[in-house]
Amino acid sequence: MANERSFVTISVVSAQHPGRARFEALLAAEEKVEPADWMPEGYRKTLIRQIAQHAHSEVIGMQPEGNWISRAPTLKRKAILMAKVQDEAGHGLYLYSAAETLGITRDEMVRLLHEGKQKYSSIFNYPTLSWADIGCIGWLVDGAAITNQVMLTRCSFGPYARGMVRICKEESFHQRQGFQIMETLCRGSAEQREMAQDGLGRWWWPSLMMFGPHDSDSTHSDQSMAWKIKRVSNDDLRQQFVDMTVPQADYLGLTVPDPELRWNPERGHYDFGEIDWDEFWAVVRGNGPMNRERIAHKRAAWYDGAWVRKAASAYAARHTGQVG
């Protein structure tokens, strides 16, 4: 499946390197590239960008859900939500560690995030305005993330692919719980059903945006596919997600906010309407509803904690081996 074009690109970057043949052989054999293996600079940079973005998304994603921990309606839901946010932080930490194997430090990635030079998933630039939004994030946002991450379990970079296997299992657990929130709301009072419908109305389109631009407009896709970092195209993943999710919305008795949505028996898929690409690009460029708030929150926590980190490293410097 490796296309010719990619190998031309690679050979320009590092024509003579003896590791190149082995790298290509690993890709061709569907084997994993490990941190100590030789890899083209472009491959390394692409992975750093992507894994860092993934890690940042987990970390920024803690904010919209964290917004409801103190108000969760029952203690069981509070525990589930707290565990989910912990899980996201844990996945973020795992992903930062995976990116570090490629020769970048976590501090550097955090700095790039704060300066807006590395991105996180745009979905977290939308606010959580009701309890149903916590259900929607589990059901739709985690659902979309899992669709993407299942693909990444076949990614050519070992630590990323292996991490995704475990992360997918944990996220599936949370997705199921998000769906249960929706199910409970939809079986509840008129007010609760209204809450659920309002949530779906606001989260549906941003969830579809999570798969990125159309394949025809995606700048990094071809190379990433050739390197087997990405295994399925944006549009195909989006279609998978729609096909999986629409029957769930039907089951819940909720209306997907897309008048063009219908089953197409010839294609064997749902047809759906066009994403509002102006909104998509506005959010990507920093003008979504919550972009400024998310980064401000993150930076405030980082700067407020500076004296703590300083104390910890001063202590560690004097007591090496005793901390940990």
Binding site: I80, A83, D87, A89, G90, S97, T101, P159, R162
Partner: protein, 168 residues
């Protein structure tokens, strides 16, 4: 599993069958291991027309226990028990420890890339090893991990970040 045989006939509803049936429920976050292997299932028996199951939570805050009881209920319903015939008790005593994980459970955790909890009583010299390259040169990143039962480590030899199941 034959539903009617399970709930209806005293001869085939012996303890091993219900124990196997319920014991095979996978952990929701660590689906590589079953609740029997994790030591979460404390007992399962038939009492008259009822299925009586006893489970114990791992870490106090782990919400997996709620999902586990839901799954047990689902498995028993599928096997022909009415909801009113299912009794699931939570017991706290004796408290669950990682020594309750069976050897199969430990092996499966390791296979899934999770360093299993150490057993100082069985293996005093036992050190945490990298699940990928088996090196014992590993360092902690965080005492607390993605779930209450895990901590995050990194291997100094192959650089692999991995989860370690914490001893409790």
């Amino acid at each position: 599993m034959d539903a009617t045989r399970l709930s209806g006939d005293a001869v085939v509803t012996g303890p091993p069958i219900i124990k196997d049936l319920v014991g095979a429920v996978p952990d929701p976050e660590l689906p590589w291991v079953t609740i029997a292997e994790l030591g979460v299932l404390r007992g399962a028996r038939i009492s008259g027309e009822r299925a009586v199951v006893e489970v114990t939570p791992t870490w106090s805050g782990c919400p997996a226990i709620d999902a586990i009881t839901d799954s047990i209920r689902a498995v028993l319903t599928e096997a022909g028990f009415g909801l009113e015939q299912i009794e699931i008790h939570t017991t706290y005593s004796p408290a669950w420890t990682t020594d309750d994980i069976t050897h199969d459970g430990l092996r499966k955790l390791a296979q899934a890339g999770i360093a299993p909890p150490r057993r100082p009583a069985e293996d005093p010299q036992g050190a945490t090893r990298c699940p990928l390259c088996d090196s014992s040169g590993v360092r902690p990143v965080s005492e607390f991990g993605a779930t209450p039962c895990k901590a995050l480590m990194v291997c100094n030899a192959c650089l692999e970040p991995f989860d370690r199941f914490k001893e409790l």
